[in-house]
Amino acid sequence: MENKANQFINAADVALKDPDLQKAVAYGTRLGFNKRIAAMYEYGEEHGEALREQAAQIKGRALANLPNLLEEAEKNLLANGFKVLWAKDADEANELILEIAKKHESKLAVKSKSMATEEIGVNENLEAAGIEVLETDLGEFIVQLAEERPSHIVVPIVHKTKESIQKTLEEKTEMPSTENPVEMARFARAYMREKFLQADLGISGGNFVIAETGSIGLVMNEGNGRFVTSLPKVHIALVGIEKIVATLEEYATLTQVLPRSATGQTLTVYTNLINGPKRPHEEDGAEEIYLIFLDNGRSEIYQSNYADSLACIRCGACLNACPVYDVTGGHAYGWVYPGPIGSVITPLLKGLENAKMLPYACSLCGLCKDVCPVDIDLPHFLLDLRKDVVSTQKGNLFWDLGISGWSWVMRHPKLYRFAGKVAARVLSLLPLKKLPAPFNAWTDHHALPAFAEKSFTELWAEHQGEKNG
């Protein structure tokens, strides 16, 4: 999908003026934030922190051993009857998916929720080839009907109110008018059930790939994923190469941590392990399963100082915790992954020059790190990305000069004190209520801070005089 990350400021301004979005996002993120705390620390803080630490270590070990685990996974997946494919980038992945769809003469693809497929734009690609694609996660379904994009990794329609969802459903489907969310969900369920029966291709992502058993782990709440992966004869799972975990036991730990962090559940309603296509004695299941490992920039991240960001299990906890996301929502971030993790990986996946605003879309409050189930040091990565922006991107003359001037003054104590005096005098003499651009950015929302008549340095000298006199 098109990347508009560099338009963050303008997009954020639009979001700030959207009362429905403000209401919906604040409600949704607060709910997620509080439910996470309740679930994560169900057995006390120590237990919750130990879970986080275990999860961080599991993902850390998996990343450290990633090349070997990928080979082991491939071997075991093949032995289980999966067809394993590798895609270097979005184009390759889309070509593979289209080839498979054409080979099986697919006409209708049903999809379960997957950020990786969002990342490469599977829907557009298949639709351009005349294949109908239906999102079957309820939130994704509404996003698709509304011709929008998910605004949250876990809750795609967190930016929407009940009223706007109703409007979308009434405009885009035959749903009889209702304000009752249960009725709306019931309608969507019936609508999708028909499509599941017609579909000839199922497309999913994968929360985890377990190397030792050659299985795909998929967690979900709506059961749509079970239809997607078992009703159509062909199933394609698109999975980022960083989704590997070594053992089934480690997977078991992560299936506890992910829902607790994401939705505040101790376990998702459905926790699936897919061990291969339908066996001869089995009644249902896809006859062919293609697992496509997606790189799309991940190998480069793996070799960079930002490798730890690949530990992300896409729980969305950092979005719910982020004060910036709370007021801008997810669309302002301009691409697939919003919030703190998006501000880190979008520049890495799409190029720093194409997302150089995102590392600055952060007040450095540090809460995202505290809630991260795998303890990714997001604030530190954002600071490092800012350093990369300054050292590799064409600078902003105002900031470049401003910061060098500031640094120079701060290295010359006498000048610093003189500048302080001048600032205090000028601000006290001039009846300024507003500062000139770009400092009007401050006075639009704040009164001018008053400089003290005497600095501490002067007061200290007086204090010493009193003590000694």
């Binding site: 400021i9 954020a12 301004d13 700030l16 604040a26 004060p323 910036v324 709370d326 007021v327 801008t328 600055y360 879309a361 952060c362 007040s363 450095l364 409050c365 540090g366 809460l367 790190k369 505290d370 530190h380 600071l383 990305l385 800012r386 350093k387 922006v389 300054v390 050292s391 900031w399 910061i403 060098s404 500031w406 640094s407 701060m410 290295r411 104590p413 610093y416 302080g420 600032a423 205090a424 400092f439 950015a441 401050w442 639009d444 929302h445 704040h446 009164a447 801070p449 008053a450 400089f451 003290a452 005497k454 600095s455 501490f456 340095t457 002067e458 007061l459 200290w460 204090h463 003590k467």
Partner: protein
Amino acid sequence: MPLPKRESPKGKAVSLFVTCMVDMLHPETGLSVVQVLEYLGVEVNFPEKQTCCGQPAYNGGYHDEAKAVAIEFLKVFRDAEVIVAPSGSCATMVRVDYPKLFADDPKYLSEAERISSITWEFSEFLVDGLGIENLDGILPEAQSFAFHDSCHGLRMMGIKDAPRKLVGNIENAEILPLDRAEECCGFGGLFSIKLPNVSAAITDKKLASIKKNAADWILLGDVSCMTNMNTALEKRGEAKRLRHFADVLAEAIPKSGAKRGENPDGE
């Protein structure tokens, strides 16, 4: 990751790192810190060539400029045995970020690590460093206080209870809870200039809980967050203000330069 353990600062002279914002905007808070420390019998010196820790440049991504300022800081505090700052954020820069900033710079790394290990936020210094939770202070009349936890002090340095204990142990002081006490005020330094509208929207959410709080004062340990919120309150025509907790501590102890235990009754 918890910060490494360090030597006790007991009995050592304190070099005050007053921070540039306190120096220019709220020098009285610097004096409050001096007053409390001297009352406790701690020798205080003030290296007069100090300016700033370099955090604005560091947070902006300008590491070379930040380093240049930080190197001056290392020089100015070269002789310090203990450094105390009335700011969780500026203390974080020295304590947590200096070793990262100089990680690839062998010339300065060991000095940066030494300076990091002797740097304390003011309440942290009193409570964790000196083991003092009670100043035997008294306020002339009953007042209630609630605390905002500034982000860097809270999450990078683990400062939460120390200022509450110090103020809570003052006679006539009552501590009340603040809804969403740990939420960011939206300042973020350059963030508030680069993304003013986003910053202000976050500030407005913070102010909503501050405005409805019943306490006489909202206290905090950072003049930067305080200036952000106080000037926003002023702009919005609100009377409520935040204060640095050091000023309340100073208000509750003798002004005259008397040391604790040296009062006229000779207790």
